[in-house]
């Protein structure tokens, strides 16, 4: 009697959520769209309507293009390494060894560590004078002179990616491990007795179980990575020479540091559009995956 038709009761139950979401999401979003077509500033003028000017200026600006590619580099590298490492570690965690329960438990730690603390920790590790990375590499003889990992454009992005991978690969590993544990044991045993080698077993026996959860993890992690702000803000503030300035950092600077709210809003909506495409991809994968599971 509840599932057959959409009752007024369901609408009543939805009402508080709908009101909250209109107030803190719907209205601001519409207002961002309005602002993106004005030359409003943070303080003072409320802005005149200038049509699509902000958009054409934003898309053709060098700042946008460099931030777009920095965001892409960060997202593609972080997420791919997290996925590969996550699957490898999940395969490891699925083996039998001493301390397996403990190692599985450890995987929750980087996930639980707040992003800001993670960023701060790695900033300290990369410190050019007192950082642990310089000390470690020098003491084992892999580095001659201390380096400023976050201060050089050649290494800053890599340093950020390492910090992001360290925090997020364990989550991918846990997701992949849950999927591995769903592979029926008799199917694996049958594949072994049929003489399938390790690669074939992975490809034809394990992969079908992994692919759904991994696609979900891939899209969710990509969306997260594309929004990246905290990590970069704390570790490099977008430097050196803007080499790590992501799109979110650029919006922050444009709208709140330079107070150009109109063009900041247009930039924010361009990011939103890209993320919406990813979100739609996510929902489609979910639908397909849910269809297969049934």
């Amino acid at each position: 009697m509840f599932s057959e038709r959409m009752s007024p009761r369901a609408l009543l139950l939805m009402l508080p959520l709908v009101l909250v979401m209109i107030a803190v999401i719907g209205w601001p979003l519409v207002d961002t769209i309005r602002l993106s077509m004005t030359d409003a500033r943070l303080a003072g003028t409320s802005g005149e309507f200038i049509g699509a000017d902000n958009y054409t200026k934003t898309v053709s600006s060098r700042n946008f293009q460099s931030a777009f590619w920095a965001t892409m580099r960060f997202s593609v590298w972080s997420v791919s390494i997290e996925l590969v490492l996550g699957v490898l570690v999940a395969l490891l965690l699925n083996q039998r060894f001493y301390g397996r329960t403990l190692l599985r438990a450890l995987m929750i730690l980087p996930w639980a560590l707040p992003t800001v603390v993670n960023a701060t920790l790695w900033r300290l590790i990369y410190n050019p004078e007192y950082g642990a990375l310089n000390a470690l590499l020098t003491q084992i003889g892999m580095l001659d002179a201390y380096r400023s990992w976050l201060g050089e454009p050649s290494s800053a992005m890599t340093a950020l990616i390492v910090a992001d991978v360290w925090k997020n690969f364990p989550l991918v590993a846990l997701i992949a491990l849950a999927a591995l544990q769903a592979v029926p044991k008799d199917i694996r045993a049958a594949a072994i007795s049929d003489g399938a080698n390790a690669w074939k077993r992975f490809r034809y026996v394990i992969m079908p179980y992994l692919i759904g959860p991994l696609m979900v993890a891939l899209v969710l992690r990509t969306i997260e990575a594309f929004k990246v702000f905290d990590l970069i803000w704390i570790m490099t503030r977008g430097g050196p020479a803007n080499s790590t300035r992501s799109l979110s950092i650029l919006v922050y600077q444009e709208a709140f540091a330079f107070q150009r709210v109109g063009s900041g809003a247009s930039l924010a909506l361009i990011i939103t559009l890209i993320i919406t495409v990813l979100a739609v991809a996510y929902l489609m994968i979910m639908r397909r995956f849910a269809g297969e599971a049934r």
Binding site: P16, L17, P114, V116, L124, I175, I223, G264
Partner: protein, 281 residues
């Protein structure tokens, strides 16, 4: 069973050890920094374990005398608890009825899709109008205002989690209760809530951790001890004039402690939430 050679078993153990070291070393170093003296931290070659354990920075941060670093830090700690607590409670309250309605009305699937999509919105897309709205109502640099803003993240997220958590609860009980003439609120309170308690508890913890972690809005909308949260306080320490790296590490340890303890204690339900929540739709 699969035959495993000795070399293979050795390889597995070595790899497990390597993964454990990769995960533990940065965390251990954060802790070691927090108990090392400045002399040890700036020694070359760097000392990996302090000559003398120095816990004075914990005392510094917990010292609440006027105008001390500890006072500002403790204020931000309490602000974080207040903001995250308020936002979590409000989010759970609107999400329980909504999540239940979504779970029992498959036709509302598109609404759920919309809710998931809003959760994925980048905060920058809302930040500018939210700034103007908070300014208009005098809620900038205010824990209540920030809590309200956090609802934009928590409400859709918790609704999504609860909806998938409510799905496996059988509908027969509701039918029976309806036949017995239970009102809507009675049905929710007496029939659904007790069964859904574990799901709600997990969702509460996820929501609290999400709010505890938040940085972007807090950076934008708070400016001093009245509302600054722990994440902003740590960013100030890390990016500011403070050159006492041990103090920064100590603040990090304290901020990380609640979520890490929750993570360890609630491991099982968190992992099943993390691995199923995203997959169920």
């Amino acid at each position: 069973m699969e035959h495993q050679s000795r070399w293979f078993r050795l390889f597995i153990h070595l790899m497990a050890l390597l993964v454990a070291l990769i995960i533990l070393m940065p965390l251990a170093w954060l802790f070691v920094m927090s108990i090392s003296s400045n002399a040890d931290l700036s020694a070359k070659p760097l000392r990996w374990w302090p000559n003398e354990i120095d816990i004075s920075r914990y005392a510094t941060l917990f010292d609440r005398s006027d105008n001390s670093a500890g006072q500002a830090f403790m204020a931000s700690l309490f602000n974080s608890i207040k903001v995250a607590g308020m936002a979590t409670i409000a989010a759970i309250m609107v999400a329980i009825p909504a999540g239940w309605a979504l779970s029992r009305n498959p036709r509302l699937g598109w609404v759920l899709g919309g809710i998931i999509a809003t959760y994925m919105l980048p905060p920058v897309a809302l930040s500018i109008p939210l700034y103007f709205i908070l300014a208009k109502f005098g809620l900038l640099n205010n824990v209540f205002g920030l809590g309200l803003v956090y609802l934009s993240i928590l409400a859709p997220f918790v609704t999504w989690l609860l909806k998938s958590g409510f799905d496996p609860i059988p509908k027969d009980l509701e039918r029976a209760a309806a036949i017995d003439g239970a009102r809507l609120d009675q049905m929710l309170r007496i029939v659904i809530l007790p069964l859904a308690m574990p799901v709600i508890a997990t969702a509460t913890i996820f929501a609290f951790l999400l709010a505890w972690d938040e940085f972007f809005y807090a950076l934008l909308f708070t400016s001093n001890q009245d509302a600054k949260t722990l994440t902003v306080a740590i960013a100030d320490l890390a990016g500011g004039r403070v050159s006492d790296y041990g103090l920064i590490a100590t603040a990090g340890v304290i901020a990380a402690l609640p979520p890490v303890l929750i993570g360890i204690l609630m491991q099982r339900s968190l992992i099943s939430g993390l691995t199923n929540g995203g997959v169920k739709g």
